[in-house]
Symmetry: C2
Subunit: 425 residues, 2 copies
């Protein structure tokens, strides 16, 4: 296990990107069948948890967990770090689901041009995509498989606490399965260096890695996204999240309480209920009932707030079990608050009144909008039944909200003689 | 005509963006019919060249032209600055074409989710989009109409030499046509300040103007795009261009010479023939014949070159009438040269050999690829029969190559009760 010094980490990342780039041709040229074979090969190796590949993975992971425990890592993080047979099986299942997904057509005929020519729109791989993610070993396989499915090479970087596990997963699962399918295993690289320096180096290679997926949220993601922008590197990221639910004057209260409960099933995730807006006519009646309903698990923060309205409790480990409650004047006012005071991730309305729903949905501009449904559905797998690459919050054309492998492609216009089109197949 | 001092230009731009934003609701909520009525209203006002609106426009333009002449502006630029009845009529025709284009569906049902819910994908306007363009008055109407068609507000900024013309076009054509259709004319704003400061201010408002279209190319576009990235503002831009044509071993020479000629019909445009690659087996034979064929209008630059291989002659006003010629080892080598040594705008292959075409097209990653066709076709209108918003060169997912109004939208996932879907119409 080669672990580089931080000082040469820029060169380590650049070398990995060059190696991945040199190998991307093998992925780009592969038929879909070969790609899916490689994914199924990864799944087989994971499912063999105590066999040839599983043994080294679980051993490496045990070492990561022991080191993290010795370093004082807390319960939730430690739990995410740990692999066991069930988790390897779950990872394998995701890979098989991904292998079963039909890829988008790579070529679409747009129209006949003059002069015997025809215009096509082609979808091309990006090339080499970077990915930075927290110390969760399963993400190594998750991201690697999605890059392979989209026929992109990759440079992966994980938190130091999971590095031994990630190396084992690359060496025992990802690389051999690629090789077995006849693909170049160098196409997906893992940065085998500890420390944050490699994350910063990953977003500083615009020529080699034009796009970087940043998993996770909060300050470190925000800082990496800013560093990337300064370097001309595009990121798919959401530093901030937090779901909004607006209880309208015409809400069915059973639905409202069910959605509040559904929005709080997990408290550390970006799409959980974070800000509850209540129509002012029902505010005084509902606040004590909501407070009772969520207690004792979750506390409420009522006006006057000592924090911004969109303050994201999931990022505040000491006060994670909190929701903010505030009044709203109606659907438009609720949408305005969600647009202006929150991250723009997701917001929903509870109402039986279609006109109110229309007003809210027309005005709310975030990446996901919900009517009588929980923002917890803002998830690539739940919405699209395809593993999620990441969530991107921005306000420009391109992949936005939950991103899947289908989004990881470039548009190219291609003009060919109409009578030779068949020769390209 | 109010022209601001440069010192307060940041506040001028921010105020324009706020005014546009406050008015975008009127565009976003408008049915397609109303939008198209506004575009046709603009066309009618332009066609009335010597009437109520045309008079002030031609007068303002005459003043711009006189000032530019007095300032020593050169022939080509002066010609682009000048408006006459024929040019107003051509602008009107473009508007009517745009009005006739069917917009993309705003909503698409993706799939049924569980729990009686259905997932839709909605296309939403971006909000306020910036546009910076050279001193060509027609672009004011061109860009304004495309923003209106895509239901976006806008902040436009043009070169000082065309400012009086642009103001007249806004005040006599764009704004009154919007108002006549019942839309808020404040949705499209023109920066009425002279000097480059307003261009820099335009790319420095990430909260108000998340996306800026940069027309034109060369150093000033590159510098604005870099400033935008530093501020977290996305741009649609191509600082560099230059078409590539590869003459394969199996090229039909009549086609090759016709494509060379077609690629040089205009020399100041980004998609013209800039680099001619010739298969090495035909190189010695073809170089003198090509040199003769393009002379005396265009000179050739032969190896050893005293410039980078992708050097863009269109940006070199003193040596615009030049093409670079170089040998290539075959289709893959030609694609590699085009990928690594040029801007990535567009490249083509001339060959009768389908295998060679496949190799080249599979390997070339630029925004447009051509087989027995000229890169001069890399143009939104020629390819898609829709006015072009701009050309974007980058290597990330999203609008790439020729961009049209269809690209100026945001993706939003929307979840609604399946049995209430009809209530949203």
């Amino acid at each position: 296990m080669a672990v580089a010094d931080e000082q040469d980490v820029n060169e380590v990342v650049a070398a990995a990107a060059r190696a991945a780039r040199a190998a991307t041709g093998s992925l780009a040229a592969a038929p879909a069948k070969t790609i899916d074979e490689a994914l199924r090969g990864m799944a087989r190796r994971l499912a063999d948890a105590h066999g040839r590949s599983g043994g080294p993975i679980l051993a490496a992971n045990a070492a990561d967990v022991a080191a993290a425990e010795a370093g004082g890592m807390s319960g939730g993080l430690l739990d995410r770090l740990r692999l066991d047979e069930a988790r390897l099986a779950a990872m394998a299942e995701q890979l098989n689901i991904l292998a079963d997904v039909e890829p988008e057509p790579a070529r679409r005929t747009v129209r006949e041009l003059g002069g015997g020519l025809v215009l096509q729109e082609w979808r091309r791989p990006v090339g080499v995509i970077g990915a930075n993610y927290e110390a969760r070993p399963n993400v190594t396989v998750d991201v690697a498989s999605q890059l392979v499915k989209s026929q992109n090479g990759g440079v992966l970087r994980t938190g130091s606490a999971a590095l031994a596990s990630a190396i084992a997963l690359m060496d025992e699962v990802v690389a051999p399965a690629l090789a077995e399918a006849g693909l170049d295993p160098a196409a997906v690289q893992l940065i085998r260096a500890r420390g944050r320096g490699s994350a910063e180096a990953l977003v500083a290679q615009p020529g080699l890695i034009p796009l970087v997926i940043l998993r996770g949220s909060g300050e470190s993601t925000r800082s990496l996204a800013e560093k990337a922008a300064l370097q001309g590197v595009r990121t798919l990221a959401h530093a901030d999240g937090g779901g909004v639910l607006y209880v309208d004057a015409a809400a069915d209260l059973d639905k409202a309480f069910a959605l509040i409960t559904a929005g709080l099933d997990r408290l550390g995730v970006c799409n959980r209920l974070n800000l509850l807006l209540i129509h002012r006519d029902r505010y005084d009646d509902l606040v004590p009932r909501v407070t009772d309903a969520v207690a004792p698990r979750v506390a409420v923060s009522l006006p006057p707030h000592d924090h911004p309205l969109g303050y994201e409790w999931a990022l505040d480990s000491a006060r994670e079990a909190t929701i903010t409650i505030a009044p709203a004047g109606g659907p438009l006012d609720a949408a305005r608050i969600a647009n202006d005071e929150t991250s723009g991730l997701a917001a929903g309305i509870v109402t039986e009144d279609a006109a109110a729903a229309r007003e809210f949905l027309s005005a709310y501009a975030g990446t996901g909008a919900f009517w009588n449904a929980t923002t917890r559905l803002l998830d690539g797998f739940k919405l699209l039944n395809v593993p999620e690459t990441g969530i991107n919050i921005d306000r420009v054309p391109g992949p936005r909200g939950p991103v899947t492998f289908r989004d990881l492609s470039l548009r190219q216009y291609t003009v060919v003689p109409a009578d030779r089109l068949a020769d390209l197949d």
